[in-house]
Structure formats: structure tokens, C-alpha cells
Symmetry: C2
Subunit: 249 residues, 2 copies
DNA sequence: CCTCGAAATGAATGAGCATTCATTCAATAT
DNA sequence: ATATTGAATGAATGCTCATTCATTTCGAGG
């Protein structure tokens, strides 16, 4: 067996989708090109309204080439969904010092998750709209990815409990509430954006979660945290100055 | 203007979809028949994989007849989504004494919402999967319905605040969290069902929400509430013995 | 037991689109 | 130069439906 180029996890192994082309480097580059177009189109128009012809045109390649790098349209969807979930799994841990103050790490995780979602809201909704369009086996890959992504958040929660800041809640369940809180920003953006901003949404949400779980000691700690970030608020709310793909604005 | 037969709200006005058939009674009956089939098929297979031929067959009518009661396939989807959302708006208030103890009314609302979702989980997911398949105007009808449905929950929250049981939270935002908590049971059932049961899910969720918002007085009240329902737990968790469509089991 | 309009039928139409494959292109080896 | 082979192309194929409409059935009134 050839060793894959350090996939983030077994579930991210792109080789579940077969390619006619043998040059591995080329496969990665072409697929990136195709998937970038596909994610945008799927996100905007949905899976079924998007044709392979559309994707090929937007990617600047021929229809036939798409079929050199994926066997079916469903494969393209799978690669697209994997790409979106992978970006979550990559970006969130990068913004968080896992060994920092547990409460701050949790804040930073939620904040980053929400901002990542906000940056590509339609992509965030894509999984909800389209996962059922995949055959069972492929759907399970996506579910596995989601579980893995959640694990990082779960760890941040466990740290808060271990530090005596939170009472012993059901971590798996609360993790899903945190995840859904982030996703909700995309799912219900048409309404929520009329009620608040993303930064206020994050602040109110975090406040809510802390109150739901904090011990007395945790509440004190939270108060200190608030006065700390109160000063450098702007900085804390934007944990990363967002890597630019190309030129600066 | 003919007076419609007491629609729950302007948004529920079925006349947004035009019918060739003039007999109003007949339109209602036939549409019920068609929509019942459509909801099931859309829920199981999704909008695009479901054909009008499928719907007609399952409803026991001809293809042409479907087009007598709706002008396009999108119309059928709109009617289907309306039917699902209407069932929420109908069933939740029915199970709740709005003038009872505010905390109990909130519990009952959340519990009923979750149970209603649980009873038809695929239908619950339908809106998330398919709303974007509608043209803007129709999509807005669905959004309006959702906002209206949420309003009942929002009122229960306001009562708790007015009674001094909850602190002054952002009602609109928390309402969405409650709604999404119920929806999440359907959206992530593949995972959550491995972690807990619906009844435990409701209990844990309610406990979480109460801790997030309760005043000291509210917490005392919640303790009393817990010991009260602790006795008649089974009854409280199933607020309605579920109307049977036909024979008893 | 006719008549006539509303309801219901389902075969036929035609547009849209996933997938294929004969052909061309380009790079490397001979 | 020329042969070989992996990549890339995009027109052609064939199937799947949404929608239509010519025809049939139904039922109330005469």
C-alpha cells in the first residue's frame, strides 16, 4: 500500500473516490479545482439543479475531465462535502490553544466555529440539504467526519468540567448543542441576521452556555474572563486575521 | 372575496396554489390525499428523486389529477411543507395550557414539540432539505410560517420572565435555540439515538435551558416542578395519548 | 335514460442532463 | 523524427421525468 499524504483522519481518505488519472499530485490539484467550483454551485443552487456541465464550465475544464477524476456526480458531491467538513476540522483547532485557560479555549472554539460558518454560510447548509442524496456508504463517511470534528469541542468541554468550572453535564449532548448553535447561524440566517450580528450572536450564545453549566467557581472565572476580553474585545472576537489565499484586500 | 374556512393564519392560506377544480370541499380532500403521499415520499427520498408519477401512484390517483390540484411540482412541495409546519402550529398549542404555571407550560411546549418531531422525523428534516428548492415567493411563505410557529414558544418564555423565574434573556434568540433543540433530534437522529432516548433528551435539554436562564427564585420553582412531575413522570412526558387515525393498537 | 359540464385518466411529448467514447493533444522515450 | 501513452476534449447517446391534452367517466338535473 502507498502511504497517503498524511490525511487528517481515515475518514478523509480521498481514495474512496476512484480516479482514472494515476498521477497523485495531479489528482489532488485537479480535484481541488473541480471541488472549488462544485462547492460554490451546490451551495448556491443545490445538488440537483447543478449540472456537471455547470461545474466543468466554472472550473474551466471539459465535462469529460470531471469524469476522469470522479466516477459519478455523487462522487463529486462526496468530495465537496468532505472538503467543507475538512475545512472545519482544520481551521478550528488552529485558532485555539488547547492548553490555555479551558474557558477561553471553549470561547475561542465556539467563536471560530461560528465565524468559519459565517464566512461560507451556504456551504454550511450544504450538508443538511444534500447528505441524503448520497448512497449509504458515502453518507456514513460524512457522518464519521462530523463526529470527529465534534470531538475537539467535546474535549474543550471536558477540560472545563475537569477544571471545576462546569458541572458534570452530558458532554456528547452539549457538544451537539454547541455545534448546532454554530450551524444555526447559517441555517436560519435569513431570520437571525435581522435580530443580531455574528459577534453578538456568539457572545450571547456563549453567555447562555456558560450560565447553563457553570459552577459558582466557574461563574467567577467567567466574570474575570469577561473583563479581560472586554478590553481587547475586538481582538478576541476575531481570533484569526484570516489567511488570505492570494492578494490582500 | 370568499371567506376561507378559518385558516390558522394568512400564511396558511392554501389559495396561494391555484386549482383547476372549483369545488372547495373536493379541493381540500384531494389535496390532503395527494399531500399525504407527497410528504411521505419527499421525506424518504427527497424532492428530486420523487416523481409526480410516484406521488400519483401512492395517492391512488392519476398523474393528470395531481395537475388539477396544483400547477407544478413545486406547488406540491409547497403544500407539503405547509402541511408539516401547520401540524406543528396545531399540535403544540393544543397540548399546553398557556395559562398554567409558566415553567410547566414551557416544559410542556418543548416536550410536545420534540415528541411531534420524533413521531415524523423525516418530515421534520424535509424543510431543511427542500425549502431552497422553492422559488423565492414560496420560500417566504414557509419562513413566515416558521416565525409564526415560534411565536407560541416565545410567549411561554416571556411568561417565565414576567413571573420572575427567568432573567431577561434575548427571547427571540433563545426561542430559536429551543426550536433547534427539537429539530436537532430529527436532524442528528442517527447520532443522538445512540446517546439517549427522546424522553431523556427532553429532560436533559429542559434542565439545560432552565439552568441557563433561571433566577434563584426560578431554580427553587424548578426544584418543586421536578418533584411534582417526578411522581407522575410517565404521564407528564406523554402530554397527549396521541389521537389514533384509525384502529387502536 | 339522455345531456352536459366538471372531474379524472394516462399515453404522448419534449426538454434536460448524466455519462460515454472516439478523437485530439502533449510530453517523454526511442 | 517518430512512437507511445497518459490527459483532455466535447459532441452524441439514451434515459428520465414534468407537463399536456385528447379522451373517458361521473353525476345531477331534466
Amino acid at each position: 500500500m502507498t502511504k497517503s499524504p498524511a490525511p487528517l483522519s481515515k475518514a478523509f481518505d480521498q481514495t474512496v473516490v476512484k480516479s482514472q488519472v494515476t498521477n497523485e499530485k495531479l489528482v489532488l490539484r485537479r480535484r481541488e479545482q473541480i471541488v472549488a467550483a462544485a462547492v460554490e454551485l451546490f451551495s448556491d443552487q443545490g445538488y440537483y439543479k447543478t449540472t456537471i456541465q455547470d461545474i466543468a464550465r466554472k472550473a474551466g475544464v471539459s465535462v469529460g475531465l470531471v469524469y476522469q477524476y470522479a466516477q459519478t456526480k455523487e462522487d463529486v458531491l462526496l468530495l465537496s462535502l468532505m472538503s467543507v467538513l475538512e475545512s472545519y476540522q482544520r481551521e478550528i483547532p488552529r485558532a485555539v490553544h488547547a492548553d490555555a485557560d479551558p474557558l477561553e479555549a471553549l470561547w475561542c472554539s465556539l467563536s471560530t466555529y461560528c465565524h468559519v460558518i459565517d464566512r461560507r454560510r451556504n456551504a454550511g447548509v450544504l450538508a443538511y440539504r444534500s447528505t441524503k442524496s448520497l448512497p449509504r456508504a458515502q453518507r456514513e463517511i460524512i457522518m464519521q467526519l462530523e463526529v470527529e470534528t465534534n470531538e475537539f469541542l467535546a474535549e474543550r468541554l471536558r477540560s472545563c468540567i475537569a477544571a471545576g468550572l462546569f458541572r458534570k453535564v452530558n458532554v456528547d449532548l452539549v457538544t451537539y448543542q454547541l455545534v448546532l448553535y454554530a450551524h444555526t447561524w447559517a441555517l436560519k440566517h435569513w431570520r437571525l441576521s435581522k435580530l443580531t450580528t455574528i459577534d453578538s450572536y456568539i457572545e450571547q450564545g456563549f453567555d447562555f452556555f456558560v450560565h447553563a453549566m457553570a459552577t459558582p467557581a466557574g461563574l467567577v472565572h467567567y466574570g474575570q474572563f469577561l473583563s479581560r476580553v472586554g478590553n481587547k474585545a475586538k481582538a478576541a472576537k476575531r481570533p484569526k486575521p484570516r489567511k488570505q489565499t492570494a492578494a490582500a484586500s
